[in-house]
Symmetry: C2
Subunit: 255 residues, 2 copies
């Protein structure tokens, strides 16, 4: 594959075009080398990555879309244990022996699978790239830890509020219009938060009744009262206890 092809393949990928992401940190030679030893792949909702596909290409970088790790219990209960998005790099080497989760696309997804050898070489030789990948993995770990905290003790409304804030954290806020993109379906959201789709639906309605946010569509909400949203997510019972009568909740000026 020539250097020209490399450019063509990588130019449109977020990992290269966003200067904060992995491929943007590579030297020309490294990018060329990695490009020669990688395969892009488009997935649609429900497509999974497993078995040979994973053992040969265990390093997965996400260009676009949302990928989940799903755990299936024997009686059919399903859990989405983690969500990965643009810029995330998954290292699935030696993962099959302990982790039961499958990698499933939650919509249209573009990924790039890298040969572990070249990836490892770059990690060893390019401190700057290493730092980017390390910080990404550390973020993955802490996101998972925070998520555990969210689903362990919080109640339905609080989980939803936390999720909206998590989405807000992960996306650039364009201007001050607080329109937050919800990148997953209601069913997936329910599975991610450990609740039922019915409860998710009721929860959003409740938040809407409290005047905290507007549900613009299934794919977006508009935050109307960020302070209250934060307090609900933080488990402030003074806010929760009012039963969601429109406009009638306690107005506590400062937190």
């Amino acid at each position: 594959m020539s250097s020209h092809d490399v450019k063509k393949k990588c130019k449109s990928c977020a990992l290269y075009s966003d200067s904060k992401l992995f491929c943007a940190s590579l030297s020309g030679n490294e990018l060329c080398d990695l490009s020669d030893h990688s395969r892009t792949l488009s997935m649609k909702r429900g497509d999974t990555l497993e078995g040979d596909a994973l053992s040969h290409w265990p390093i997965v970088a996400i260009d676009d879309g949302v990928v989940s790790i799903q755990h299936l219990l024997q009686d059919g209960r399903k859990t989405i244990a983690a969500l990965f998005m643009r810029g995330d790099i998954l290292d699935l080497r030696n993962i099959s022996n302990r982790n039961r989760g499958a990698l499933v696309a939650l919509g249209k997804v573009n990924i790039c699978r890298m040969a572990p050898k070249v990836f490892a070489q770059i990690m060893a030789e390019n401190p700057n790239s290493q730092k980017i990948v390390w910080e990404n993995l550390r973020d993955q770990a802490f996101r998972a830890i925070d998520h555990s905290a969210d689903i362990a003790k919080k109640q339905a409304l609080e989980k939803l509020a936390s999720f909206v804030l998590e989405c807000r954290n992960r996306q650039e806020i364009t201007g001050n219009t607080e329109v937050i993109d919800i990148p997953v379906r209601r069913v997936d959201l329910a599975e991610y938060l450990g609740m039922q789709p019915e409860t998710v639906s009721r929860g959003f309605k409740d938040l809407e009744n409290r005047g905290v946010l507007d549900v613009i569509s299934l794919k977006a909400v508009k935050i109307k009262n960020l302070q209250f949203l934060r307090r609900i997510a933080d488990g402030d019972k003074d806010v929760i206890d009012e039963k969601g009568d429109p406009g009638s909740f306690k107005v506590l000026q400062f937190g």
Copy 2:
């Protein structure tokens, strides 16, 4: 600090004496340098690491004991979002701005806090050490992800079974005596699994009634039927549905 002192300080530490762990992978010079730029610390139950202590020494390696990340909600609910043990290396650089968790010891703990500069240098220069730290962080991430799956949809008995198996995974099995060390208290266990201490207590009793394990003490259980324990943890309702009458559950021979 002389090279002799270095030896004295590090000789008794698991990170050095266990050949699979970080400090054992260092060259003599690196170990010396890191030792000069690190501080050991003994903690007792309830001691926390935060503020200046963390921003100056954000790399924390665990020699012995159990350390938790705790999240506190505004009405007092507490969650243990993650557990860290011997060999784990925590990178808490830039963590204060997004993560609300505090680092709390759950018993007697020995840690070693490292200067980020020396740590980063070793990461950049010693591929072998880098690999060990990388794999440890990856394990932390996947442990957290698996834990999310455990607490999201599983019911009380299944969570407990999963936890016992998690403990089993993390400790060397000595011979075939299936005695598993439970390194945390009941309250902490409850907070980690997102349930109440009462429910933990009832759960262990239930598992005992089913003949799956014996509760030897508050600190150890003995697995009597590993296969059933696995199936309960996996959400097999055929096993769960029998209401825990001693010896009367369905005996399904194979998987």
